[in-house]
Amino acid sequence: MATATTSRPAGSQQTRAPARGTKGPPLAQRAGAYAGLLLLTVLFVSPLVFMVTTSFKTNFEAAQPTWIPKEPTTEGYSFIFNATQTPVLRWFLNSLLAAAGQTLLILLTASMAAYALARMEFVGKRLLTALIIATIFIPPIVLLIPNYVIVAELGWLDSLTAVIVPGAAGAFGVFFLRQFFVSLPTELEEAARLDGANRFQIFYKVILPLSKPALATLALLSFLTNWNDFLWPLYVLFSPERLTLQPGLSTLQSAFATDYATIMVGGVIASVPVLILFVVAQRFIIEGVSRSGLKG
């Protein structure tokens, strides 16, 4: 906290505003801040509101910037659910399967590895840890083309396996969980061991239940990342019925050009699940996003 002393303002002897009761800036400034806050809230939320209201317009009305549809219609939704070239419902299911599948894989592999790193000693542990850490610094672009080739050789092109498996490799989950496991008190594990529990039972019945918040955070983050991924599925999926939502949406754009109501229906369908997740698990999502940003 060396900065605390240097942070003392040079002219601190002079008597400025009395300390008592002036926690923040003065009243006029505060009123300005409130106005600013409201404006910001409106600014940030209105594009999403427009997306939703437009999805209930006719394509003709979507061309006119009105807030509320004059004749609200679910035309766009029924149209898109029946379009064979752009099976949005199918994409939705594909995205759901891919994101859920990859999340499960990550939870499984990362929690096991994290347990080993947090609670076990073995030869090569430091080397293997270093290897896994090193992968955090590899920009994903480097892996794009070689992984495409690997997936092609494995015969996974144009299948959901391609968007589930390779992306499950990653160091973030391992280190995120390891940090959490290390912070857990060892007494409960000792007690379980005395009761005759083996390593797997300790892992499964003691460690994992105690780690629910960390597991939830990792699960939500993995789900969101996979759900929102665009470039990789664009590489490995081609058939209309095999696409996930994000690359699917870009085909909507080329298929319906300026039918904005139709396109916004697609946008709403792609956003609703993540927005619901955000509403119910805001705290975990914010935690996960911040942790991933700072790499653990």
Partner: protein
């Protein structure tokens, strides 16, 4: 002895699934990537060793430089907006009051939706004839005829896309800055209040120095993210006009797909990755110094 050997094996067994994934889809591809960049290869024809030709070709390739320069320009424009803007938002919303929390949450919402979705949304908002942006600007009397935002002029496309991405990701930096600001010990804040520091003095001499590390880290993450920009350009301009808005990743994509030049694409990705590495090292050195 038996016990320890056994527990050794158990440890490795628990690590194994994650390790197999990392080896198969990160370590091996990394090696293959370097190998590929020295070969001409199109999946269909056998690979042919060409030495450094792919790299030499890249540096002589006009489109490589156009893409590289455009990506750097995009990064140079968006990064200060994201960092300064995100920090101001954090200062504005870090204290706890209902409205501030609501604002913070609202600003963060676009972070969770996909960049693909937000790009489609803004593609429509920036549309010349039907878009709300032109409509709003016309209503305010700022423009007399519709502006062609996307795909006609590289600079204007860049501005429009920057605006849309700022909306989409500024909440990310903000939330990290809020975390850092809230982690400042209460005593320090109180001491500065007792000393009669003005709000501005508190920001510049207390809050900013104590959160500098987070600022540098977020800058690093933002710079890397911007250097890897793809989705928004693919959707909003498709590289138009004349691939002037095709970012570096976009050019890698063009080479791997429509043109199937995988070796060349690999060399291009290598150059981009090394650029990112340079930024990472510089930033980490800065972070370390600021921490000392």
């Amino acid at each position: 002895m038996y016990r320890s050997r056994r527990s050794q094996l158990i440890g490795i067994a628990y690590l194994a699934p994650a390790l197999v994934f990392v080896l198969a889809f990160t370590a091996y591809p990394l090696v293959q990537m370097v190998w590929m960049s020295f070969h001409n290869w199109s999946l269909i024809t056998p690979a042919k060793y060409v030495g450094l030709d792919n790299y030499k070709r890249a540096f002589a390739d006009d489109q490589f430089w156009v893409s590289f320069a455009f990506t750097l320009k995009y990064t140079a424009i968006i990064t200060p907006v994201l960092i300064v803007g995100g920090y101001l938002l954090a200062l504005l919303t870090s204290e706890s009051s209902r409205l501030r929390r609501i604002t913070r949450t609202t600003v963060f919402i676009p972070v969770v939706i996909g960049l693909g979705v937000s790009s489609l949304l803004w593609y429509w908002l920036f549309s010349a004839d039907f878009g709300l942006v032109n409509k709003a600007l016309a209503d305010l009397g700022l423009i007399s005829k519709p502006v062609l935002w996307l795909g006609v002029d590289a600079g204007r496309s860049n501005l429009a896309i920057t605006a849309s991405v700022v909306w989409k990701v500024i909440g990310f930096g903000m939330i990290l800055f809020v975390g850092a600001i809230q982690a400042i010990p209460r005593e320090i804040t109180e001491a500065s209040l007792v000393d009669g520091a003005s709000y501005r003095q508190r920001v510049t001499r207390v809050i900013l120095p104590l959160t500098l590390r987070t600022v540098l880290l977020v800058t690093l993450v933002s710079v890397i993210g911007s250097l890897l920009a793809f989705d928004q350009f693919y959707i909003m301009t498709a590289g138009q006009p004349q691939n002037e808005t095709a970012t570096s990743v976009f050019y890698v994509y063009l080479n791997s797909f429509p043109y199937l030049k995988l070796g060349y694409g690999a060399a291009l990705s290598m150059i981009l990755a090394l650029t990112i590495l340079v930024f990472t090292v510089v930033q980490l050195l800065l972070t370390r110094r600021s921490h000392a």
